[in-house]
Structures are given as C-alpha cells and as structure tokens.
Symmetry: C2
Subunit: 559 residues, 2 copies
C-alpha cells in the first residue's frame, strides 16, 4: 500500500474525494428504469411495442388463472401517426380493487406476486408500471384503466407516474355503475413500430395462444383486421397454488431470513411447517446431524447454525417437491395446440417431473419436438430449425442468444440422434419452463439465466426426445432401405427364376420358382430387419449413462 | 365487453379480486435484487466471481480517473474452502469521504454517477452494493472497507445491507491514523469458482489492462501466483468532463423534465445554457419554427410545446457534439496495447468522431482489427474469430449473444472484404463503445442494447477497417501471385534465351539475351500490377454509397 502514499505535488493536480462526492444522491427505482429503459425491454421500435403487449397480456392471464376464470382477452393496436400507436387491452378477469389500482399501474416494485412462492407469469411488480412510464415518456399521456370487480362499480382512472417519488400521479377518476367485470387498459405511445416480423405483437399473441390453449385471444391489427385465436379446451386450469420451499437447494441466507420472519416458536417447528417435505422423522434425522438443539428460538438462529442445518439437508433424503403447485401445459395439450398446426411427420412431447433449482425453488420442464411437415422456420428458400421458448407459458421472443434455454438446445448433440445439420433441419423445438421463480437475466424477462440445474434438466428432456426421434428416424430409414433392397432382389428374382427354370428345363415351373424365391427373399429381409432392430435398441443410453455424459460435460456449463 | 358479463353460477367457483389482492405489498430494491440476483450477473459460479472483481475494479478505475490519479490496483483471490473465496481489492484512488461510505456500499440506487452526463464505467449506483448483498447472502459475512482520502484519518468499517430498508447495517467501525490514501475492500463469498476460462477473473483483468494502458493492475491468484499487468503509458488521462445533452436525439420527455427542474427564467435561456451547441442564432431559428414565445417560463412548458421544440430540433442544423467530454482510448494506445501483444500480420485501428444516440446522448466508437499472428481465439486445434467487447474501457465477457456489439459484428459481410470464413479466421475484432450513458440490457452490464444508432456506427467503423483489410489482403495476394508469375516466366526465360541464341547462332550473346528478356518480363509484370491497382481502387465504397447500403439494410436492424 506504500505506492498509494501521497505526494504533495501530485495532490495539487488531483481532485479530492470531497469534491468528487459533492453530487452523491439517491434515485428512485422509476428514475432508474426511466434512464435504463432497455432493462425493461424498451429497445428497438418493434420490440418496445411487443413488450407493451406482453406486459398487458401476461397480467390478464395471471389474474384469470388465479381467479379460476377462462380468459377472454382482446388486444387492439391502432396507428395514430408515424411510429405512434394506441394500444388497448381488455380482459374478463377478476378486476382490480379500487384501493390498489394506483399502485398496480403507478408504482414499481409493488404487487401481489413478488414474495409468494407461486407460479405466475409476472413476478416482479415492475412490468405494467413500466408501460405507464413508457407511455408518459414518449407521448406525455397517462395510462387509462377501467376496471370492475363484479360489484357493478366501475372505476375509470387516468394516471401518470411521479418519477422521483415512484408513485402514481392521478389525473382523473370517474366512477359509474355498469354490469360488467374485467379490466380494460389503454396507452398511447410513440417511437414504436408495428410489423409482422417474428418478434412483433402478432407472433407474440400466436405463441401465447399456443401455450395457453384455454385462452381466447382476439387481436385487431392497425389495419383493422381481426384475428381470433380461439381456445382449444374449455377446461379452466386449476389455479396454481402457493408452494413451500423445498429443503434441497435452499441456501443459508434463505433459511436465516425465514427464521428472522418466522412465527414458529422452535426451529424444529419452522422446519416442519414452513418447508416442504420435512416430516417429524426428518427433523429427528436433522437433529442428529447438527451440534445445537433444534428447539431453540428461530429469531436467535445464528448464521453458523443455519449453515449446519443446510449442510444436514444435503445429507438427508427428502421426497421430491410436490406436483400440485406447478401448472405445466401437459403433454396432451401441447400435442393438441403446438403440434397439430405444424402437421409434422414426427412429433413427440415430454413433461418431466419437478426438480428444484437454487433456493429450493421447484421447477419443471416441458419439451416437444416436431419434424417435417410445417415444422421449422421458413428462411428465404429453405427451412431452418426453430426454437420456441416459453417461461410459465409466456413466449420469450427476444434475447435468444443470452438465454439458458438456447444454451440447453445447443448443448444437445443432435447428430447423435440422426439430425446431421440441426440448423438447417425442418424442426421445431418447443420448451416451456415452469417455475414459481424463473431466474430471468433482466427485468425485461426475455431470457433465462444459465442456471446449471435448469440447463441440465432441459438438455436431458431434449436428449430423451432425441432418442425417440432417432428410433423413428432409423425405423423410417430402415424401412426405406429395406424396401429398396427388397425391390432389387425381387427384380432379379424373376430373371433368376427364368434362368433356373431354363437350366432345369422346366419352363412351366418358372412361376412357382419365382414365387418361392420371392417368399424366400421376403422372409430373409424380414429376418435381417429383426436382427438389426435388436442390435440397435442396445445402443440406447440409460438414465445412468446420461448422468455420466452430463458429468463429463459439466465443465462446459459451469460458467 | 359483453362477454365478460358475470354469471352468478360462475362466480361461486371463482376467486374475488379482494382475495387475490390481500397480499399486495411493496418491496425494496434490495429485496428485488436479492431474489433476482441473475440481473446483477450472479448466475453461474465463474461468472459470479468475475462479476465481483468487475464491480470492484470499475469503481477503482472510475475514482482514479475522475481524481486524475494514475491507477495502481491490486486484486487478490484466496481460496478458503470448496467454492469459497475471499476477494481483496485495493487502489491508490481518492478514497471515500466518511459520510458516504455506508451509502456507497450498503444502499442501492445511490451514487455520484447516475444523474450526471459524464463518461464513467459505473453508472447505476447498484454494482458494489450488489457485492455486499452477494457476500451476505452466501456467507453471512459483512463487506470490510478501509479508506482514507489523504488526510491520514483512516476509516475501517464492516457492513451488511438491511434488505427491507435498503440501507447499510454497520457491524463495526474503527478509526485510526495512517499516512495513506486509497481504498481497500474485502468480501468472503461462497458458491463461486475460480478458473482460467475465458470468462474468469484473470481474463477479465487482462482485458481491463489492454483497454486501460495507464493502469497498473496486480493480480494474486488462489495459488499465490502474482501477475503484474504494468502500465504502458505514464500519462494521466484527462478526467472525463460532464457534458450537456445535444439537441439532436433529445426526446420530449427529457426536455419536459429538464424544464421542470430548470433554474432558467426563460425557455430560450434554458435551451442556450443547458443544451450543447445551441447558440443564440439557433434559438432564433427555433423560435421561427414554434407557435409560442420562447420567452415563457420553463416550469410552464406544456408537453405539446416541448414536442414542438423537439420537432424544430430535427429541422435545424447543429454542430456535432463536442469532443472533449468523451475519453476514447485513442488509436495510438489501442495499437500499442491491443495489437502489440497479438503480433499480427495486419492491424488497423479507427476511432470514429462522436455521434448521439437516443436522448441526445453523445457516444463514440473505437474499433481495431488484427489478422494473423496470435490474433483469434485458440479453439481445439484451430483458431476461431475473437470479438473483444468493451464499454467505456470495461471488458464485457458475458451475454455476447444478446449484445448489440455482436449484432454489429455479425452485420458486416466479411466476405466482401476477402474474409471468406469469418468464424474460422485468425482474426481479433476489438470494439470499445464510449458514452456518457451506455444502454445496457440489464443491471449486470454485460451487453449493450440493440440501439440502431450504435449498431450502425459500429458496423460502419468495422466496414471501414474491412476495406483496409481488403487492400492489404489483395496487395498480399497480388504480391504472391506476381511473384509466382515472375518466377515462372524467369524460369522459361533462360531456356528461351538459349533457344533464341541457338536459333540466331550467336551463342555468346545468350547471356545478354537472357538479361534483356528478364528485364522485359519484370517491366511487363510491374506494368500489369499498376493497371490492376488502379482498377481495384475504383471498387472502394464511398461514405455516400455506404449510407445507401445501410439504408437498404435498415429493415434488418429495426427491431
């Protein structure tokens, strides 16, 4: 540290710390996002418009799902001038209680979702206030909200955000009676652009419909064209339920915070009531592994003690996290909605059982592969591989390059499964990550962090589908090859029969000889086929082998 | 909206809005980032460690630069157990005034940089508090800070963050005298991993040294090995200065906010004193274009009036933003530090003049291309193209796929410049984006948003270098071809000379004939060469043609 010693002469030219810190101040979260709008997805004209639609629609779907309502959503985009649009979104959801409207739309980091361990599309309490902010930043106009919770008392309100205070600035409120339940919101923005690109609102809504077969979504585009994505099922999905954290993957910090806030009288009861899958018997096992009495007061749990408990969790076997809290789309529905429109030659879907990622957060992976037919993405004259990413059924259209789902897809050696040139194959990969907390890389929620557990799980699921594809593919290849072989042999069998009959001078038996030969050939080819089939099934990888494969490759993903 | 009408029977199964909103609450910014740590770059073990080093080092470099001090920084990483490290970072910077220490390290969204229009690496007031948070989340231990502003009064403090209040929780403070100036910080974290990968701390510091030739950086790795990246210049870079916003690219919202906060008495004086390049003459031009008197009180400026001014800005010509506020590395320094270590066959650098991106924010692009020698990235047996991304001299090692710099590099048709297989070429592309506000895609600051202006500017700069490469490449190719042609001709010239001399029966003149022939051939080859050279120079694209090219391609980038 001697090198930092102060030379008087130097100091005269240098600035003193006090001068540098004279402007030190705190900013509000709204000021922060106003300046860093790209964090929220507001970069680029098309993307900004899609972001607005995304925030509106995910809120409506979440609200309907929680309330147990079949969603009926309408989105209308109207052009008001160059790069200037009005967006109106309307749902038949539960409505918003009057007391909360201003915070929902005019305050960031406020909401019902952040602190609950429940699977919803939204989770941050930022997105929809971000739309209000973007509207006021580009046109100076307020967001207008009309909502009713079913009591016929409609609130019709217009608000801006007070940026320095991070709270709503209410411009106008009207109250009136109407027999209606739902929410309609409207904003006017500039600096955005509507087009039909793969990252535009139309494609966003199309994919939303694919992953939400219970939702009816109506879209009216700037030219007034109406598209209805109708629901393919009338079943109301069971509302997601709040889940306790699972001990596996829970971190010391989580437990310490939980203990501080706990109302339990003993650490032992905290463990058995506030965590998932911790029975009284498990508490006893944990007691054996720690150096202190689990009867102690949770508010007095020290970091080192919490660390002992977390280490004990790693040694104890617990049941896997419960299924009921997570709401996958389900293999049947995926098949119906995703695959039917692609009309592929081959299709397969898989919903893996739930796992936990960091912090004891349960998650689940659903994947599907479609090959041939309309699968893949049309690019110029050819077809390219297409990856449809979803998180809790919300489409992820942006930031594919930085997304863990992309990492997982690229981590599969498709060649091994007979897909030689993955990039240029007529293939659609569908991945839906279901979790009570999706580790997004930014507040814009368009890509998932490279979490080892999540990537591994998606990769395994895709490898499983890869093996299924391989079986189909090699069966198809074998069928083609067998047919070719058979045809060749049969072609010669006639000539051979003729030659043989001549040789043995029994012309009239030529037909019988030919038939015998054909029968012999067909049997022989079939026999070869069966032998081949057996040999090939041995090539399959078992789950154990897969684990080995992944162990070897672990270095690659550990970044 | 009739479809949303309430059926009594339905409601009985559905949940009411009041029930759904019973858990509505506000969270602090620290709680938000605690749960969404991936936004700050804490995803993956290696990345998390690099993020910590990054936050520490950028703060030190910023502080030294602002104070006009030649930075001397030491980073030491010590292994305490499996995935458990202690990181110590020390600088000879200006120190931190005692009153601000707790906010700098223990409060998010507080700092000296956010609201100033000045080019610094840090800009959010989040990063270093994020390190404190990550330390307490993984080990429960406080960050320790020892600092002195040069008055010999050392403050040695240990603090955590009170997550719900977003403020420092001070554990211990010691005050003593020492003849020293600078700051040393220390944290202990778990769940991280040190390795020598391309995304590890060593590579991070190596690249930091490359882009900051005035800094001396000492690194002590977990095995105790010491590496010194010494400075290659002793010149203290001129501290960056605060810049006024430039009218071009300023948005209505910016002007409205500026007007609200302004101390000017008239809108006209606001324009001429608070913006860059707006002279009295320009104010008169603007007055001609708007419908109201610019003498009005800025606090009374309406949105529509601000919009008129912004529209007027678009029609008026202003001087380009001033150079002095931005601090590029400079072509000479890039050449010295970036290119010398690669020892390439071909190298070229370019610092473009400043431009403005959204919100009137000045920015500047520096690019370099190195080809051959040690350029490129060693991958297995071969060499692949390498892109080194920097923003305000800070290396961007992560999220390359989602970064606008990557979009720009991929947007260049390298084939046009004679690089047939870019991906597999021994080429290093260096890009440094210099700006008073870099539009990062997330709080982790590892990728730049796809801003049209920025992408265009980087692409143009790279296309320029591409043309330079092409000239070198075709010269080199021509040189090789010419040599080959010459050698072939010369080889036959001896035989030809011998044949001619025999033919005309003058054996003794054979030598002279050979010499004449050689002279003739050499001249002929040289002449061809010159002709070729002239023809080729006509192929060059002018700036005007480039603009056209970009216009055509604009659709691609407008997302």
């Amino acid at each position: 540290m001697g090198e930092g010693a102060v030379a008087d002469e130097e100091l005269t030219k240098e600035k003193h710390a006090d001068e540098l810190f004279k402007d030190f101040r705190e900013v509000s979260i709204t000021e922060f996002f106003r300046k860093n709008r790209a964090h929220l997805g507001y970069s680029g004209k098309v993307r900004s418009l899609t972001t607005i639609v995304h925030e509106m629609v995910t809120n409506s779907l979440d609200a309907c799902e929680e309330a147990g309502i079949l969603p009926d959503i309408t989105v209308a985009i109207k052009e008001k001038g160059p790069e200037h649009y009005k967006i109106t979104e309307s749902d038949n959801g539960p409505g918003i209680p009057a007391a909360h409207i201003s915070d929902v739309f005019g305050k960031m980091l406020a909401g019902t979702k952040f602190h609950r361990n429940i699977q919803l599309r939204g989770q941050q309490g930022i997105g929809i206030s971000g739309v209000t902010l973007y509207s006021q930043m580009t046109t100076g106009k307020p967001m207008r909200i009309k909502t009713c919770t079913g009591d016929n008392k409609v609130v019709d309100i217009q608000l801006l955000i007070d940026i320095t205070k991070n709270k709503a600035d209410i411009i106008e409120t009207k109250n009136y009676e109407e027999y209606w339940r739902g929410t309609t919101i409207e904003v006017e923005v500039k600096g955005v652009l509507y087009n039909l690109s793969e990252q535009g609102p139309f494609e966003y809504l199309r994919r939303t419909a694919i992953a939400n077969p219970h939702a009816k979504i109506t879209f009216i585009d700037p030219e007034g064209r109406k598209t209805v994505f109708d629901r393919s099922t009338n079943e109301v999905p069971k509302p997601p339920s709040e889940m306790k954290q699972h001990p596996k993957g829970l971190e010391v910090d989580d437990l310490v915070n939980m203990a501080k806030a706990s109302k339990s009288r003993h650490v032992s009861s905290l463990l058995s009531t506030e965590l998932s899958r911790v029975s009284g018997a498990k508490v006893k096992e944990i007691q054996e592994l720690v150096s202190f009495d689990l009867n102690k007061n949770p508010r007095k749990l020290a970091w080192a003690e919490a660390e002992e408990i977390i280490n004990a969790f790693k040694k104890v076997d617990f049941m896997a996290p419960p299924l009921e809290g997570l709401r996958p789309i389900g293999e049947g529905q995926i098949k119906k909605s995703v695959l039917s429109i692609l009309n592929p030659e081959f299709e397969t879907t898989l919903t893996r059982p739930p796992k936990v990622h960091s912090g004891g957060v349960p998650f689940q992976v659903e994947v599907a592969v479609a090959y041939g037919g309309k699968a893949g993405r049309v690019a110029g004259e050819g077809v390219k591989a297409e990856v449809m990413r979803f998180a809790n059924r919300a489409p992820l259209l942006f930031d594919a390059g930085g997304c863990g789902i992309t990492t997982a897809v690229n981590g599969v050696e498709w060649k091994r499964y007979g897909i030689k040139d993955f990039e240029n194959s007529p293939i659609t990969i569908f991945v839906n990550l279901v979790s009570v907390h999706v580790p997004y890389t930014s507040a814009g929620k368009q890509s998932v962090a490279d979490d080892d557990e999540i990537i591994k799980e998606i990769r395994f699921a895709l490898m499983d589908l890869g093996r299924r594809f391989q079986r189909f593919h090699s069966r198809r290849r074998r069928a083609i090859e067998q047919e070719a072989r058979l045809n060749t042999l049969l072609k010669y069998s006639m000539e051979l029969a003729s030659a043989i009959s001549k040789l043995i001078d029994r012309d009239k038996e030529q037909e019988k000889i030919a038939k015998d030969l054909e029968k012999f050939i067909r049997e022989k080819v079939k026999f070869d086929e069966e032998l081949l089939g057996d040999a090939e099934s041995e090539e399959e990888l078992t789950e154990a082998e897969l684990e080995e494969v992944s162990e070897e490759e672990e270095d690659k993903t550990e970044i």
